[in-house]
């Protein structure tokens, strides 16, 4: 059980590093690349939990489609280096403490709950074979309404984008 632990901590480190770089880098493309790194690290973590399908879909949808569009738009606009603003007073005295508080709450919850103990079992789930069939049965039978409602929501969003992009309203 040492290998899953190594993979877990490596990916966790990668994800956190990516997230920090995303905020710190001033070049928009570098930020986008850091975000891709976070997505890939998360995909490997999903794999560790035995969810191969979710892991592959995470890469296809986020790293392969959403982030490609991000990169595409940044390239199209030829966005320059970001300008740094001064730290606002609100962020300094309210934002930062609130952020730390949130971090503490999450850390405490993780520490007390048994969420961490699931990770070791992931490898077994992978070798036993996680069923995509079972997932699709759940999605298209039990959660069919939610699934269709989501797709209609996305359709509405696409129509909205079309209306906004139309040249002669």
């Amino acid at each position: 059980m040492i290998v899953p632990a190594i993979v877990f901590f490596a990916c966790a480190l990668l994800a956190v590093t990516g997230a920090i770089l995303l905020i710190l880098s001033r070049e928009p493309i570098h930020s986008a690349l850091s975000l891709i790194l976070v997505m890939i690290a998360l995909a490997i973590l999903y794999l560790l939990l035995g969810a191969e399908f979710i892991s592959a879909i995470q890469i296809i949808v986020y790293a392969g489609a959403v982030m490609v569009l991000f990169v595409f738009v940044i390239m199209l606009l030829n966005a320059g280096v970001e300008e740094r603003t001064d730290f606002s007073k609100l962020a300094k005295f309210v934002g930062l403490p609130l952020g730390f508080f949130l971090l503490l709450v999450v850390a405490r919850w993780l520490y007390t709950s048994r969420a961490g103990s699931v990770i070791g079992h992931g490898a077994e789930a992978v070798t036993q074979g996680f069923s995509t069939r079972a997932l699709s049965a759940e999605l298209f039978q039990q959660y069919l309404f939610n699934f269709e409602a989501t797709s209609i929501l996305i359709l509405i969003a696409i129509l909205g984008a079309l209306v906004l992009a139309r040249k002669n309203p």
Partner: protein, 405 residues
């Protein structure tokens, strides 16, 4: 011994990866030779002829040339991303090949490890798409990081093109998935075993002929090949996204493109043409000796060619090829080796047909205009592949055609 049996998965995987990498790299090099030869003959030329017999050492000479050229990095470029882009392109395209099964999973070596597949994931196809969907970054980032006009335009074009055709590519494959009922490559191949009317192989390409044609078209666009090679259209964009790249970094893009060609050809073979299955019934026992016989025939041809037409060093080089193919052919004829080369032989043959098709298209068709490319992708290819998907699904709902019937 204890270590090997304990870690046999790891050891076997490392061996397989090393061998596969060697084979794929060699195949990449000789694919460039193959392409130049075929295109040359289409255009009534000889193609590479002087470096080695029939230009057989040309890929080696090209490789050495790439290694010894000056590796120039434009001063205004984004160094990190500029270096990252070719690595990303090549790594992703080579990783994709690791998912391809080249032979039956029932053949084993080293403590029951499957010999012809590096990975046997339940959702192999989705992993393949996950890896190839990242491939666009190599091209897009190369275009952006060069900090130059033409590469940026090439990178933009390629992002738009690859996103557009990826949709059709993925949807055209779903019809096959509905027929196969699995995402595992070996499952898909096993589902194509058997014959219609006793002689016609049950390969998916006949019931999925529309999906197959959509896949073939979208695959050419995905790999940025002529007639869809707008990201590097030399008449418009100098060399497109890799204008600023030189030396081995340029070679890496080159290799990535050919590796992608091999991947999509392998995928076409698996999904539509029965993968490593033989087209002949199992009862035809002589087919066991076909791979060896083919190699022997090649050896005899090379021997005659060397004896009659070649002179000097070329005669010697072709002689080496003769000895190699006769030797390997003889080994393949032995009853111990013959069953093992069966799957890879048919697989390679089918992939070669697709690669030839690619080169043939390149030698025949002119390049599209950009607006033609986009309207073809979105207004023709996508609706057709969607219709194919819907019709396949509707037909499968009828009990007579159902998989489970």
């Amino acid at each position: 011994m204890g270590f090997i049996s304990e870690h046999s998965v790891l050891v076997a995987s490392l061996i397989k990866i090393a061998v596969l990498l060697f084979i794929v790299m060699t195949a990449l090099a000789y694919l460039t030779w193959f392409e130049r030869k075929v295109v040359a003959h289409i255009q009534s030329r000889w193609g590479p002829y002087y470096v080695g017999a029939h230009g057989l050492l040309q890929p080696l000479a090209d490789g050495l040339k790439f290694l010894f050229k000056e590796d120039f990095t434009p001063p205004a470029s984004d160094k990190l991303v500029y270096i990252l882009a070719p690595f990303l392109a090549l790594t992703l395209s080579l990783t994709a090949i690791a998912l391809i099964p080249f032979g039956s999973p029932e053949l084993h070596f080293l403590h029951g490890q499957q010999i012809f597949l590096v990975s046997n994931s339940n959702i192999g196809l989705i992993y393949l798409f996950a890896i190839t969907s990242m491939g666009v970054y190599g091209v897009a980032l190369a275009g952006w990081s060069s900090n130059s006009k033409y590469p940026l335009l090439g990178g933009l074009r390629s992002s738009a093109q690859m996103i557009s055709y990826e949709v059709s590519l993925t949807i055209s494959v779903v019809g096959v998935l509905l027929l196969a009922g699995t995402l595992n490559f070996n499952g898909i191949i096993e589902g194509q075993r058997g014959y219609w009317l006793g002689f016609w192989p049950r390969w998916h390409f006949l019931p999925q002929i529309v999906g197959f044609l959509c896949y073939l078209t979208a695959a050419i666009a995905e790999t940025n090949r002529i007639p869809f090679d707008l990201p590097e259209a030399e008449t418009e964009l100098v060399a497109g996204f890799h204008t600023e790249y030189s030396s081995f970094k340029f070679a890496m893009f080159f290799m990535a493109e050919y590796a992608n060609m091999i991947t999509v050809s392998c995928l076409a073979t698996i999904l539509f043409f029965g993968g490593w299955l033989s087209p002949f019934p199992d009862s035809w026992h002589w087919q066991l000796y076909l791979p060896g016989a083919c190699l022997l025939a090649l050896g005899v041809y090379c021997a005659i060619d060397a004896a009659t037409r070649m002179h000097g060093l070329a005669k010697l080089q072709l002689g080496v090829v003769t000895v190699l193919s006769l030797g390997i052919g003889a080994i393949c004829l032995t009853p111990w080796v013959a069953p093992y080369v069966q799957g890879p032989f048919w697989f390679t043959l089918k992939v070669l047909v697709f690669l030839f098709f690619y080169v043939w298209v390149r030698g025949t068709l002119p390049r599209f205009r950009y607006d033609q490319l986009m309207s073809f992708g979105w207004k023709f290819l996508l609706p057709v592949s969607l219709a194919n998907l819907v019709i396949t699904a509707l037909v499968l709902v009828f009990p007579a055609f159902s998989r489970h019937a």
